[in-house]
Structure formats: C-alpha cells, structure tokens
Symmetry: D3
Subunit: 188 residues, 6 copies
C-alpha cells in the first residue's frame, strides 16, 4: 500500500470537475505521471484553479529570466522553508530545464556555493530576502538587481515567485504533501 | 500630490482589461473607494485574476469560521510579517466584520492579549505557526485544533489563509504598497 | 463588567500615597481619563515613582528630537516587542503630537514604509538596533546618526527611549496591562 | 592612561548635583571604589536619580527572593544580552552575596548547568522568558512559578528585575560602559 | 577545466605523507573515486588524521544505531547548517546504506515528513537539538530517547555525530568544499 | 560529595588504556589537577584520542596567531554557544597566556567591547561568523581578514578553531561537563 500523499482527503480523478480533470490528464500525458500537488490541491477546486493560474502566470512567463532560473528560485527558497515536496519536485524540473544534473542539489542546500553566475546569485540573494525578510527589502536591493541587468519586470518576477512558493511551501508542509517517487531521479 | 501607491507602474482604470475594470468598479461602488491592492496588482492582469480568485475562495467561504475570524488570521499574521498594507486594510475590515472597534489593534500587536475566545486563540496559534514555522506543524497541532471543535475543513481554511496572506504580505512589502487613507479610521 | 487591566492587584485611588494620587488626578484632569499604566504600576509605589520620573526625563525633554519623534521611537520598538499597551497608548499620543492620523499605524507595522523623513528613518533604525540587538551597536551606527545631524545628546535620547520602553514593554506584557478603550480612536 | 569608561561625556564628581555626589561618595565609602555605572549615568542627573531609585526598589527589596537570587537574575539575563558591564559587575555582587566564588560564572554562561536549586532554575527560566520573549509569557508560566512556591509579589519581582536590567543592558552596550577592574576578582 | 574543490591549496597525492596517501588510495580503491573531503583536508595532515580518526570512531562503530541511521543524522543536521558537501556526499552514502533511493532527500529537507520510524524521528529530533541548541538539552530529552529504547551509549553516539558534523559542516562551508560529481547519482 | 563531572560514566584513571592514562598524568603533572574534559571524554578512548589530537593540532600550532589569541576564539564562540565548561576552562587559559586577568571575561561576554586590537576584533568577527552562520561566509570575509594582515593559513586556523570548539561546546553541553573549581580563579 502506498503512503498517503496528503493529510487531507484526496479526490479521485473521476469525481473532479471537468476542467480540473482535463488539466490533470494533460499533465499526466506530458509527464507520464500525475504530480501529487495536483491531487492534493484538487480537494478544493476553486483554490486549485487559482493556485495553478497563479503558478502558470509566474512560471510559464516569457522573459529574460529563464524557466530554469525561475526553478532555481523555487528550489532555494523552498529548502529555506523546509518544504520537501517543493524541493524534490522542482529540483527535478530544474535539472531538466537547466539540463544539469547537479544544479538542483547545489542550489537547494547552499546556493552561494552553486555553479551559477553572479547574476543568478544576485537573483537568489533577492529571492531569499523576499522569502525570509520581505519587510526589510529596500532601495539598495533593487539597485543591486539593476546593476546585474535586471529590469523592473524581472524584479517583480523574482519577488512574485519567491512569494508564491512561500505560500506553496506552507500548504505542502501543512498537508504533508508527498513528492512522487518519480521526481527523485528525473533529470539526473 | 499623493504619494505613490506602489514602487511599480500602476495602470489607469481605463487601460485595464474589461473584467478587471469591472471588478474594480464593483469594489469602488461597494466601498466608496478603490483599495490600492487592486490598482497595484492590476499591473499584472493574469496574476491579479489568480490572486483575487484565490482570495475570494478563502475569505468569502461559508463555514464555521466566521468572516471576522478569517480577518483575525490576516491581521495577526500580517503584523508578524510587518506588512503595513495588510494590517491596516484588513484591520479595517476586521473592525467592520466583528463590529468591534478595538479588536484589530489588539490582534495585530499581540493576539495572546486580545479580547478573543480560547477557540479563537487556538485558531491564531495555529495560523501563526503556519505563517512562521510551517515546517514544524505536526499531529499535535491538529489535535489541539480538534479539541477546540475545528474540523478538517476548518484546519485547511486557517492554513490556507495564513499561507495566502504570507504571499500577499511579501508582495505588499516588495511593492511598497500603500494603504488607502480611508482604511485607518474605518469601523472605529 | 470590565475586563481586568492587570494580572496583578490594582489599587484604588483612595488607597494610594498622596503624591501618586495627585499625579494620577492631574493626568485624569488633563486627559479626561486615567491611562491604565498609572493604575497598574501603582501596585508598587516606589517603582511607580521611579518609572514615571524616568519616563518624564526622557519623554518631556526639550531638544532637537521633537515629542512626536520620541513617540515614534516608542511605537516602532513596542510593536517589535509585541506590546499591546504601548503600541495602542503611545500610538494615540503620537497621532496627537504629530497631528497626523496615519503615522502611528504606519510606524508601528513597518516604519521603513512610513511617511517619515530620512532623518527620522535613521533615528528609528538606530532605535530598533538598540531595542533588538544593542550588543552590536558600534561606531558606524553613531556615524550614520551624525550624518543625519544628530548630536551626542540626541543619540543618548534615542537610545534611552528605546531602552526604557524595552523595559516598559516587558512589564506590560507580563502584567497583561490593558490599554484603555479611549486610546484606540484618539487623534484619528 | 585609563581607557574611557563611557562613549559619552563623564562628569567630574565635583561638578555633580549634591544629592548625586553624596550618593556616589557613599558608595565609594562602602565599596572602596566608585562603580563606573554611577559616573557614566551621572551625565544625565534626572535619569540617574530615576535609574537608581528603580534599581534600589527592585534589588534592595526584602522578600522570599534573596539578594543573591536577585543578582542571579541580573547575571543570567545580562549575558543573554551580551552586556559586559552588568555580567562583570553583578557577577561580583552575586559571588559576594551568595558567598560562592563559582556561582556567577556558572549562571552567566548557562544557568541550566549551574549549582542552583530547582526553584532557582524555575526563577531563571521565567526571568529569561521575560528578558527574551515577554510577549509570549502566559498563564502556564505563572503556574510553574506557583508550583515552586513563588507568590504573586515574587513573580512581579522576577519580572521587574529582568525588565529593568534589559534596559540597563541596552544603556551599557550603547554607552560602551566599562566595568571597573576591581569587579573581576571580587568575591573569588 | 574543473572547478576548484577548495578555496585553500589542495595537495597532490604524491606529495602527501605516506599514511595519508595510503588511506586515500584505499578509499579510491573501494569507492572508485577520491571524495574531495580527503583532498581538501589533506592540506593539513595532522588535522586530517584527527578528523578521520574521529569520523571513523563515530561512523564505523557497531551498535544498535545502524550505519544508515548514523548517516540520517549527518544528512538532517548538515542541511540545517546549509552544508552542500555533507548533504550531497552523505546523502549518497545514506541511500546506499539504507538501500533506499528516496530517503536522503526526504531527511535532508524535512525529516519530520520522511519515511522513517518514530524511533528514528526521536533520534533526529535529538540530533537537531544538539546541532542547533545544545545549550538547552536537558533531562527531558534523554527521557524521550530512553522511551524509544535508546540507551546511554546510543545517546552519546547521536550527540557525537551531530557535534562532529557540526564541525565538519563549518569546515566545508569555509573551504567551499565541492562535492564530487559522482555523489549526486549514487544509490538512486 | 562532589557533584558529577559528566552525565555519562566517568572511568577511573587506573582502568584507562595506557596512552590515555599517560596523557592525563602528564597534564596533571603540569597543571596540578586533571581538567574534567580529559576524564569525561575518556569514556570513549578512540574519540578521546582523536579529540585531543585535533585540539593540539589547532591550539599548539606555531604561527602569527598567538596562543592567547587562539584562546580568545575559544572563549568568544563558546559563550555564544552557552558552553559553561569551555568558557570557564579556556577563560583561565586565556588569562594565563595573555597575562591579563581581565581579558577572558571581556571577550566572553561581548568581544566588541574588549581591550583587544582591531586585528583581533576582525579575527573574532570571523570566528563568530564561522561559529554562528558558516553557510554565509564569503569572499568579503576573507578580504577583511587579509586587510588585517592574516594570510591563508591564519584564516584556516581561525575557522578550524571556531569549528572544533563548536563541536566541543556541543559535547560539553550534552554531557553536562563540569568545569573544575580550579579554573575559576586561575590567572586572576
């Protein structure tokens, strides 16, 4: 028997509203499995819809910050928040998007020692400040980002991702959301 | 001249997508003014839509936890995160919903000393743990909530609100979102 | 029946030593009510006398730091210490002294976002460091204050107020000192 | 040349108001030297008077908590606040009052490992909570103290001393108040 | 060109004292590569010898705590200390010793959510307390361990491993010790 | 009867392996008493040997950092870790090696206020960062040390001592290792 994927009730696919069912089937089609976050959050369809709309707006956005870099933000801040689901699932996505089997573990444990560029380090410094002490963010933080070539929209992106996954980390920890076994070895 | 309401560009109402414009006009109609969070977040229409859909799913939900109690969660956790916008705006809403001019300031500064019931204190203890150290939430926290009569859906509600406003607090701090002057005296 | 204003015994006015009774009557005359701190601390007459002598020496002092600015220090540091009595009572005094209905809530929640001058922000940065990590205060802090035009006596004033209210915050939290209802709306 | 005893101006005895001069001469008579706190704080006569009146009200008080135990509170909380003057000066007083050359260093570094009674440990647990997180003091803390035989007046004493020296620690750190050389070896 | 494995000079095998060279060759023989910790620490032969003697005394010891469990302690505490080398290298060893490809990532990010027994969770609770706040370890911690069947020698083992790797984590962070690429995929 | 020197079993000298017995007798010969750390750690002979080999490699090393300065590192970091044994025992050694009866207490409580040189303060700033947040050590820390004349080997020494005593502090706190009475007054 498999361990539970959430401390809360998990709906069956067939019982879900059609739009959510279709979204999940599409992910399954693409990934070969259904990441547990979809099933755990489907317990609350309205929140599910908002969560993934928000997620996609931030993570699928085109722009100077690459998709791999967006995943770096997720992985670094999620380990600071001790979120097992997010570090393991987004670690896999980061490895795949960066085509680099080492980067996710490096960024998770201590991004200051990771094989990243100074620009990426500045991005993660800011993301971590938003995640851990947003009240103290000030002009000097924005100036540092600008000095690394980030424009205003990039700054919003970084902050948005750090803030959104701060929420996601808390939900995953409260629900004891379990990462799928598949994630651990993807992209290695 | 008025001080800026966000460090980022703020769109004019007339330039917004119609659904967002309508939503904002409806709020203005009801409240007599447009809370700045609507204008500041409208800079990113997709994120705006997801943000308010999520907000409404959590804050407009019917259930044993009253709307005033939901606002207590917002106010207590937002002060812990030093979020000026959320404490001041939701403090106003809390005063109105609780029909109590004192409760918001009490809950913001130290909810342990507020005029609330033991059940409400247990709710806020849990919300603060989700907000500040969600990684350590465990069975004993759920047992304490259950002993105060909260069921599983209530627990999700509390956690969801604390997590969502953790995101909101970070966005407001990064954007230097300014509370409308109207909020300070509402409901006093 | 009114909720208690202190976890400890609260004397009646008629039973108090004459000097303390006179002091309290004078405050009542001036303010229209007796702030609970006077009654709660009167449980210990000698400590009462020392407390208010110290308070007045710091808060009634003439000098380049205005009375409103002194109250800003109280409000900002008291919220960091989660002291309900001090934030609410001195928030009222700050509103009155600054003739500004918004300033107290802004300074309480996150002074970095408040409508204050750079000189006032430097004053509060220092006050918060004294309040939260005085062991690390060093020459660079004094140099920053000097660069904003504060002289040595001003520096002592700021530190003295932050230190004194650090004590006051702890006393108020331990005694569960209750702010008078009047304070919440004063000066709004 | 001797190192300065304060970062701020230190008055000469002959220039002080007579009451302060007499108080200092009396201490010198009794101790054989003038503890630097008297000279450093004499820079502000009104604050000096209030400070020592408060100090004496708490530290010279008769009651079930002995003078040595009061000094234990000072020493433990002052090391938590990294206050060199208070740990060294009150460490000396503690050794003398307890007639125990070991107790001060033990209590300063980690009172949990000191040669003290369970009742004294409960007293210091409470004092440290008042010193470091007074906002969270609640009924359970008072119940623990009561179980060790402390009555309400004792609880006020412990809290008052922890709060007063929290102020004193901050003043000493900001002024870089230097402990007299005499203190280091007294009572050993 | 490979990135450096240490911020400090790294000796060549041929220049090392014979005992150290032999130890390293033996590891290479067994593992198929030389873990970088051996090369980085060989910069200081005497410290190298003491380090590995200590390591082996704790990690190769027979006893009720299995080798896999010892590695759990290393992985959990090393992530709390943000030590990239130790989490990644000992994560590999943990996977191998536990014959479980998932356990290392789970334990690293949040051991409270890992697939471990209650006894193992108690072991890690204690290890984390030793790692993060050893000053507060007290009788109740030992009683909890005893209730899970740990005897006195086991308690020493857990504490010793947490303390030793606390040192190791600091050395690895200061030297910017780089985990070998081989570790990331071992045992998956 | 004497209080126990360790929570764990303490072997008798006659039952110890000969090399350990000889080492202890040599210390006794030189110091006039056996520091309790030797007896407490002798419970585990292999760990004892590694511990003291490591200790000597770091503390007996010749170099630009004097033996007194090495002890300063121990005393400052050990008080941050609330380790009674290390502060008291190494405080004594520091007084003796520095031929200064005041220095140990100053450095223990707040080294920023101690009678030390700017170079020594930079050394302790770095040692404290290694001790308390090694994950954040970066190039700027090494540059600061270099500006004070420390070379690469010195930097390793400082870090090594801070890391080693971080381990030692944890072992002493877990074992409740008791400082010998002799240490308190040595060198005063």
């Amino acid at each position: 028997m498999n361990p539970p994927i959430s401390r809360f009730p998990v709906p069956e696919l067939k019982d879900l509203p059609e739009d959510i069912r279709q979204r999940i089937l599409a992910v399954q089609e693409k990934s070969g499995f259904v990441p547990n976050v979809f099933l755990a959050l489907a317990h609350r369809p309205d929140e599910f819809r908002a969560f993934f709309a928000y997620h996609d707006a931030l993570m699928e956005k085109k722009g100077p910050i690459t998709k791999a870099e967006r995943e770096m933000i997720v992985v670094a801040t999620s380990n600071a928040n001790q979120c097992q689901y997010c570090v393991i699932a987004h670690g896999a996505i980061l490895r795949i998007r960066a085509k680099n089997p080492l980067i996710a573990d490096q960024v998770a444990v201590n991004y200051r020692k990771a094989d990243i560029t100074p620009r990426q380090k500045a991005m993660l410094d800011f993301a971590m400040k938003v995640s851990q002490q947003a009240h103290a963010v000030d002009d000097s933080d924005f100036a540092t980002l600008a000095a690394h070539g980030f424009d205003q929209e990039d700054m919003w992106d970084i902050a948005g991702i750090a803030a959104f996954f701060g929420m996601s980390n808390r939900l995953a920890n409260v629900t004891s959301m379990r990462p799928n076994d598949e994630f651990y070895s993807l992209g290695r």
